[in-house]
C-alpha cells in the first residue's frame, strides 16, 4: 500500500510554489534552505512518483531533467522562460492535428510529440533591457 509522508507532501508543495520548471537539485536546495532535512534521493523519488501519476511534467534541458507541477489530465505544451523558469501552459489544436497528420503521412505509428517554446519572459526581458542601458 502507498503511504503518505511529510517528505512527499513537502516536494509536491515546493514544486507547486516554484511555479515553473525546476531541477531536482534546485528543489532540494530550496527545501533545505527553508529548514527541511529531506534527502536528495527522496526528492528524486517523489518527483518520479508525481510524474508517473501525471501530477508533474518533465523535460530535459542541458543534460538535466526539469519538473513542473502541471494541470493533471490535460495534454498541453509549454512556453518557458530560459532565465527564470516561469512557465505558461499552452494548448494548440492546430499543432496536435499537424503532428498527427505528419506522422501518418510518413507511415509512422505510435507517434508522440515534443513541442515547447523557450524564450525570455516579459519581466526578464525588462530586467535585461534595463541592465544594458545606462
Amino acid at each position: 500500500m502507498k503511504r503518505n509522508t511529510w517528505q512527499k507532501e513537502a516536494v509536491r508543495s515546493a514544486l507547486g510554489d516554484a511555479g515553473g520548471f525546476v531541477s531536482a537539485q534546485a528543489l532540494h536546495a530550496s527545501l533545505r534552505e527553508s529548514g527541511s532535512t529531506i534527502a536528495l534521493a527522496t526528492v528524486y523519488r517523489a518527483l518520479t512518483g508525481l510524474t508517473d501519476e501525471g501530477e508533474a511534467d518533465s523535460l530535459q534541458q542541458e543534460g538535466e531533467v526539469l519538473y513542473r507541477a502541471c494541470t493533471p489530465g490535460t495534454h498541453h505544451h509549454h512556453l518557458i522562460c530560459r532565465r527564470c523558469g516561469t512557465t505558461v501552459e499552452i494548448e494548440a489544436q492546430p499543432v496536435e492535428e499537424w503532428a498527427r497528420r505528419t506522422a501518418a503521412e510518413h507511415g509512422f505509428t505510435r507517434a508522440e510529440h515534443v513541442v515547447d517554446i523557450f524564450g525570455v519572459c516579459a519581466r526578464c526581458s525588462d530586467l535585461v533591457d534595463r541592465a544594458s542601458r545606462p
Copy 2:
C-alpha cells in the same frame, strides 16, 4: 587556425552513413568496428564541432545526446523512429508561425522552439506486427 584531420572526416562520414540520430558512443563503437582507432573523446569533440558549424543537429533523449547530419542552413524539424533512429526532416510553416505568435502574445522575446515527433517508422511497425503474430 583550424586543421583537417582524418578523425574529423571519419566522424563526419560515419554520421552521414548513419542516416538517423545516433549517440556519440554508438558512433564511436561503429567506427571502431570498421577498424578505426579513433578515441571516444575525439568523437565527442568532432560532433560538438559539427553541431556548432551547423552541419549536424542534436537532441536529448533519455539522458543522452543524439546527433544527425542534417541539411545545413535550413530550419526544420524531425520525425524520428524510436526503434531504429531513422529520421525524416520536416518543414512546417504553420507551426513556425504559431510559435512566433504564441511567444509574442505572452510577451516572450528571443523565442526558440523544440518541435519533434517520435514514432515507429513503417518498416519497424511492420517488423513488430510480424513478430507479435504467429
